[in-house]
């Protein structure tokens, strides 16, 4: 079942994994971010989204932003010992554990995202593709979502609209080789997700996304 969403937002940051300390975004949305937008509207273990095509509708624009961030994460070990002993000291003091990090963000983005879902082996006897397609269409038409979808980071929320695949404005007239791009993470072993990459080409504003199992997607 194929669907098409017109998504837009003021900012976006699809962080390149090789430049994630001072975040630098990819030029266009990654398949994994696009998948997450569909999943924010509807996802069940019985289905799996596959992004097929990304159309870039707005010119690619950049903006630089530096923020104070915290360098630590919550420590499981301290939390555990506080739980067992009944006392402890858990907070993080931001002034002591501070990093200033710049981000190179995208501005004024708009995409037309094409995706379809397949049933997985977790589907029960009552599950059918038509049922989930109906659910998705109903939610997307009403603007319903499980959580507000976003463009790479949660502070960059996006609007979405269910559209027909050939409706709306034409993609930007720009073609370029976007290099190796993150495709998605392979959660085969949930404790150690492995990244997958593909060679992304933008042809007249359109990035064709290969299937996950195709040889173009490399681990």
């Amino acid at each position: 079942m194929g669907f098409c969403l017109d998504v837009s937002g003021e900012f976006a940051c699809f962080t390149r994994p090789e430049m994630k300390v001072e975040r630098v975004s990819y030029d266009v949305i990654t398949p994994s971010s696009a998948r997450a937008i569909f999943e924010a509207i509807l996802w069940k273990p019985a289905i799996q989204w596959q992004v097929t095509k990304i159309e870039v509708l707005n010119p690619i624009k950049w903006m630089n932003l530096r923020r104070n961030e915290v360098e630590s994460i919550v420590s499981t070990r301290t939390a555990k010992s506080a739980m067992t002993s009944g006392e402890g000291h858990l907070g993080i003091y931001v002034d002591e554990q501070r990093q200033q990090r710049a981000s190179l963000l995208l501005k004024d983005v708009r995409y037309r995202l094409h995706a379809e879902f397949q049933m997985t082996d977790k589907a029960g006897p009552q599950d059918s593709a038509a049922k989930f397609a109906d659910m998705f269409r109903r939610r997307a038409e009403k603007g319903q979502c499980f959580n507000q979808p976003y463009l790479g980071c949660r502070e960059f929320s996006c609007d979405f609209e269910l559209v027909d695949a050939d409706d709306g404005p034409d993609p930007i007239q720009r073609s370029s080789d976007l290099g190796f791009m993150l495709y998605d993470l392979d959660y085969g072993d949930p404790a150690y997700p492995q990244p997958l990459f593909f060679r992304a080409h933008m042809q007249d504003g359109v990035v064709a996304v290969p299937e996950r199992n195709s040889p173009e997607v490399r681990g």
């Binding site: 003021e10 900012f11 903006m63 630089n64 932003l65 530096r66 923020r67 104070n68 961030e69 915290v70 994460i73 919550v74 420590s75 499981t76 939390a79 555990k80 506080a82 739980m83 067992t84 002993s85 009944g86 006392e87 402890g88 000291h89 858990l90 907070g91 993080i92 003091y93 931001v94 002034d95 002591e96 200033q100 710049a102 501005k107 939610r139 009403k142 603007g143 319903q144 979502c145 499980f146 959580n147 507000q148 976003y150 949660r154 502070e155 960059f156 929320s157 609007d159 979405f160 609209e161 949930p190 404790a191 997700p193």
Partner: protein, 290 residues
């Protein structure tokens, strides 16, 4: 009891002769969108104030403790007792460990308001240690372009002897300070009932969150901030957890326009209109600060 409704909110606040959010990349000048000239305030800047306010009113005690603390305000060097959760000592086998980590995450959510609200990244080794909070905020943006003014200021004392010598006893130095004369900022936020269920964010927490947006600026006074005040908090409450209308349609109902000529210097220079008659079915508008 966790939430059963999705919410969106529009938060308007203004600043007079102050710097609402400095840009570390630009020598602490107020953040500005270089293309439009509109002022920006980051989401994290506002979340910081929510945390500080909740930490202050709830006196840093569970279940409203704040995980990400600001030392200047809240450094109390005491050990605080936690309700000990009877955690069984399980063997270190991997699947059980994952279960264990889930309980730790739950326990952190129960004790810390900011983890319940905004989420947190916990633990390195186990995947389940990351929670997304229900409350999602965007950058706040000023309605009109803002003008940053630079002020030179003097001080009548110096810090070190060396400086005093260099000044040959005059002991006066110059400093700089940036303000914007006036700016009205608009911030959009989202609250997901589904994510609230995952972290245990409750109706009571939600009230506290609204309360913090209304009151936090009054407890965040400093030399650099100038006069910051909340102007409007418009909350859209959906009938259902999934929501009854697209967020953008609701935000479009709130229109902020200028009603005077010349540069704006007060909230009264603006007019906020809400097209309540166009409110979609199943969405209720709640006005705080009215």
């Amino acid at each position: 009891m966790s939430l059963n409704n999705r919410y969106e909110f529009v938060y308007l606040f203004d600043v007079k002769d102050g710097n609402p959010n400095g840009d570390p990349d630009a020598g602490n000048l107020p953040r500005v969108d270089a293309e439009t000239g509109q002022g920006l305030v980051t989401d994290v800047c506002l979340k910081r104030k929510v945390r500080n306010y909740v930490g202050m009113v709830k006196e840093e005690t569970p279940p409203f403790e704040i995980y990400i603390k600001e030392k200047a305000v809240l450094n109390r060097n005491n050990l605080r007792a936690y309700e000990a959760l009877e955690l069984k000592h399980e063997s270190k086998k991997l699947p059980k460990k994952e279960d264990d980590a889930r309980r730790v995450t739950q326990w952190m959510c129960q004790n810390f308001f900011d983890i319940r609200t905004f989420g947190a990244v916990m633990s390195t080794d186990v995947n389940t240690g990351q929670v997304r909070g229900p409350v999602q905020m965007n950058f706040a943006r000023s309605i009109e372009p803002v003008v940053s003014a630079e002020h030179s200021i003097t001080r009548m004392a110096v810090t070190t002897e060396k400086e005093a010598e260099a000044q040959s006893g005059d002991n006066r130095t110059m400093g700089r300070k940036f303000t914007i004369p006036y700016g009205l900022y608009r911030c959009h936020g989202f609250i997901s009932a589904n994510l609230a269920k995952q972290t245990g964010f409750s109706e009571e927490d939600l009230e506290l969150f609204w309360d913090s947006l209304v009151n936090m600026l009054d407890h965040d006074r400093s030399a650099s901030r100038g006069e910051m005040s909340p102007c409007a908090l418009l909350v859209f409450k959906h009938d259902s957890a999934l929501g009854n209308a697209p967020a953008r349609k609701l935000f479009e109902l709130v229109d902020v326009k200028r009603k005077s000529q010349g540069p704006a210097r007060d909230f009264s220079d603006y007019e906020v209109t809400v097209k309540e008659d166009q409110l979609p079915k199943g969405v209720q508008l709640i006005k705080y600060l009215d």
